[in-house]
């Protein structure tokens, strides 16, 4: 046990350096403070262990709640997001800007660009809103039906709070006051070649705008940079994609050449920028059934994201920042 104490003492070079060497009393005080802090640490660890025991028991006996979408907030927070947090903080060093544009309560629709071969950008956005937003909001994403057809992926997606991108689900979530995320470019965006990076693809049929207008929900255009460079897709093997039933089979500078190492994303520096909300509540009741208005609104959201992307790219010192 004393070993552990010495280790803790030595492993903090900053504090050791800051302690004035001359005075014996301050040294003793510092040591006392260290001991105090250490016992607090120990208390924290014990508390965490105790909580883990409680968590484990409740998971084993099924004593937790899932909502009608299959969302399991506790599992998301404590298990699913755990491996993503180091990726968010230390690997991509994600900078979330404009979080004040996301309301603390009530519905809003986050619309963002999609890139990076695998949907890490969506997970990072979810994590930005969960960890860095003052209200720790859960982002409920709308995913392609492929997500819900695939084993394992579908199970995790439902537990993480996501659901199928369809009008009834979008409207249900928004009218429940949830924060909903959509990536309207879909596979066209996430699977585009590296040469087309940061060029927004077509925005589908604008179903997400209609859902927002019908429920009077503000739309938050969101631009993500950095994701394009994390898995630069330089090629595609259509035959393998067809065999595996996937929309594409990516080839990156490291995948599949380096085997499992190819799954490690490049450590690009990310920025997620939430723009000012576009209000839809004042458009009136019939607005959702006016295709012209919906298409114009879709274009406006798309343009806003594209402009923000260009602005952020100009300001970016380097890809790996």
């Amino acid at each position: 046990m004393p070993d552990a104490r010495i280790l803790a003492f030595d492993s903090d070079p900053q504090r050791r350096g800051s302690a004035p060497l001359g005075s014996q009393t301050t040294k003793r005080q510092a040591q006392a403070a260290d001991e105090h802090e250490e016992s607090l640490d120990r208390e924290g660890v014990l508390q965490a262990l105790e909580q883990a025991g409680d968590f484990l028991r409740r998971r084993l006996t099924g004593e937790y709640e899932v909502d009608e979408f299959g969302f399991d907030p506790e599992l998301l927070d404590r298990v699913l997001m755990a491996p993503m947090r180091p990726l968010y903080r230390n690997w991509f060093r994600v900078e979330a800007v404009g979080l004040e544009n996301v309301p603390d309560t009530g519905a809003a629709l986050v619309v963002a660009n999609h890139s990076g071969t695998i949907p890490l950008d969506a997970i990072m956005t979810q994590l930005a809103l969960l960890d860095d937003h003052p209200a720790h909001r859960h982002l409920r994403m709308l995913g392609a039906d492929l997500v819900f057809r695939m084993p394992v992926v579908s199970e995790i997606a439902r537990k993480a709070g996501h659901t199928l991108a369809c009008t009834p689900d979008a409207e249900r979530l928004l009218s429940d006051g949830e924060l909903v995320g959509v990536w309207p470019e879909g596979f066209k965006g996430i699977g585009k070649p590296y040469s087309e990076r940061y060029k927004l693809q077509r925005f589908g049929r604008g179903g997400f705008v209609a859902a927002a207008v019908r429920t009077g929900t503000p739309i938050i255009p969101t631009a993500i940079i950095g994701a394009e460079e994390s898995y630069p897709k330089i090629g595609n093997v259509p035959i393998l994609a067809r065999v595996l039933g996937l929309p594409y089979f990516p080839v990156t500078p490291t995948f599949p050449w380096l085997g499992p190492l190819g799954f490690v994303p490049l450590p690009s520096k990310w920025t997620i920028a939430f723009d000012e909300p576009i209000p839809t509540a004042d458009l009136g009741a019939g607005a959702a059934d006016d295709p012209m208005l919906i298409l114009e609104m879709t274009d406006r959201v798309r343009e806003t994201i594209q402009q923000t992307l260009y602005r952020l790219l100009v300001d970016r010192p380097s890809v790996f920042g």
Binding site: M1, L46, G53, L60, G62, E63, V66, F148, E155
Partner: protein, 355 residues
């Protein structure tokens, strides 16, 4: 003048309970239960007539008794109960056709209440999270009870069009569960080891058998005749893995194709039903929106999905492999050990460092 109600499927558990419940209502002078086999339980004040709804004799009964309300609970869920899939389909589809034909001929029938199932929505990856009564199924069922129910509903809708003066209500129930009822779902959860689908975790909803009877009673005795389709389920959702954990039973995750094959061989032994539809349901799950029945009929299920499931486990004596109390105790012991450590060890250390 009092009314007369006819309950089909009265020999089986729910039909029998329904007849008994309705016979204690003052609204009805007569309650007539019909089925092909004699009832196993006491029908209370209800009369029982042994008749096959697949036979035109049902029309004679309706006419002779001046039946004004028909509660159709005669749709059978498993081949096991009917003695083969062919007979089951016969009873379900032909029986319903005969019953509807008899209702159409009769001058007395004013209400028809059909017990249907949420499985008519099917289940699959392209479904919305919750079905409302108006959601068009993306993956319509292709076999078994679910397909029979789709066909039954089709005939009932046709009947409603032809006879606009009869109030027709279709009640779509989530999986009915309870302490006494036996269904494919209860036998599934009573297996010693519960097979699940690898990589999927279905969302399940249950409705307690008492709630099933209550809403049917409300619709049967309502002053204003009720027409339309209503979803009924207990509030809340359980995921399949969560349900298994609540039972405390071991489970084994099998690839979907294997589960189907294993199910077919198990199916012949009668242990559990692993039809294509059931496996699809255990893969993708399903949840239904009950706001229409809440708003229009003011009905709120008194058992939540989780409570109904717990009541099933209690009634069927599904004993957990490891009792939850053991785990609680283990947790308490852990906390005690940690709590004790948290206070004792640092002070002990301080003593040691002084010495």
């Amino acid at each position: 003048m009092g009314r007369t109600v006819l309950v089909t499927g009265a020999a089986r558990h729910l039909g029998g309970r329904m007849a008994r419940v309705l016979s204690s209502e003052t609204t009805f002078d007569r309650v007539i239960g019909v089925d092909v086999v004699p009832p196993r339980q006491d029908l209370g004040g209800a009369e029982f007539i042994r008749a096959d709804i697949r036979n035109p004799v049902i029309a004679k009964i309706i006419n002779a008794a001046d039946v004004d309300t028909v509660v159709h609970m005669g749709v059978i869920a498993t081949p096991m109960q009917a003695g083969g899939r062919a007979t089951m389909k016969d009873i379900n589809v032909i029986g319903t056709m005969q019953l509807l034909a008899a209702c159409q001929k009769s001058t007395s029938v004013r209400r028809l209440i059909v017990k249907s199932t949420a499985s008519v929505y099917g289940s699959g990856p392209r479904d919305p999270a919750m079905f409302t009564e108006d959601t068009a199924p993306q993956h319509p069922p292709t076999s078994g009870w679910a397909k029979d129910s789709v066909e039954v509903e089709g005939y009932v809708r046709g009947f409603a069009r032809r006879c606009p003066d009869v109030a027709v209500s279709i009640l779509r129930f989530a999986n009915i569960i309870g302490p006494d009822i036996d269904t494919p779902m209860t036998s599934y959860f009573s297996l010693p080891v519960i097979p699940t689908v690898l990589g999927y975790d279905a969302r399940l909803q249950f409705v307690h058998e008492d709630d099933q009877l209550e809403i049917t009673r409300i619709v049967a005795i309502a002053d204003d005749p009720v027409t339309g389709v209503y979803n009924i389920a207990g509030p809340g959702v359980l995921s399949l893995s969560q349900a298994v954990r609540r039972l405390g039973r071991p489970s084994v995750a099998l690839p979907r194709t294997l589960l189907g094959a294993a199910g077919r061989s198990l199916g012949s032994t009668g242990l559990a039903d692993f039809s294509t539809e059931q496996v699809r349901f255990l893969t993708y799950g399903r949840a239904i929106d009950t706001s229409r029945v809440e708003q229009e009929l003011g009905f709120a299920a008194s058992w939540t999905t989780a409570d109904a499931f717990a009541d099933f486990a209690r009634g069927h004596n599904v004993t957990p492999l490891i009792a939850p109390e053991v785990l609680v105790e283990a947790q308490q012991r852990l906390s005690a050990a940690l709590g004790g450590a948290g206070r004792v060890i640092p002070s002990g250390l301080r003593v040691a460092s002084h010495a």
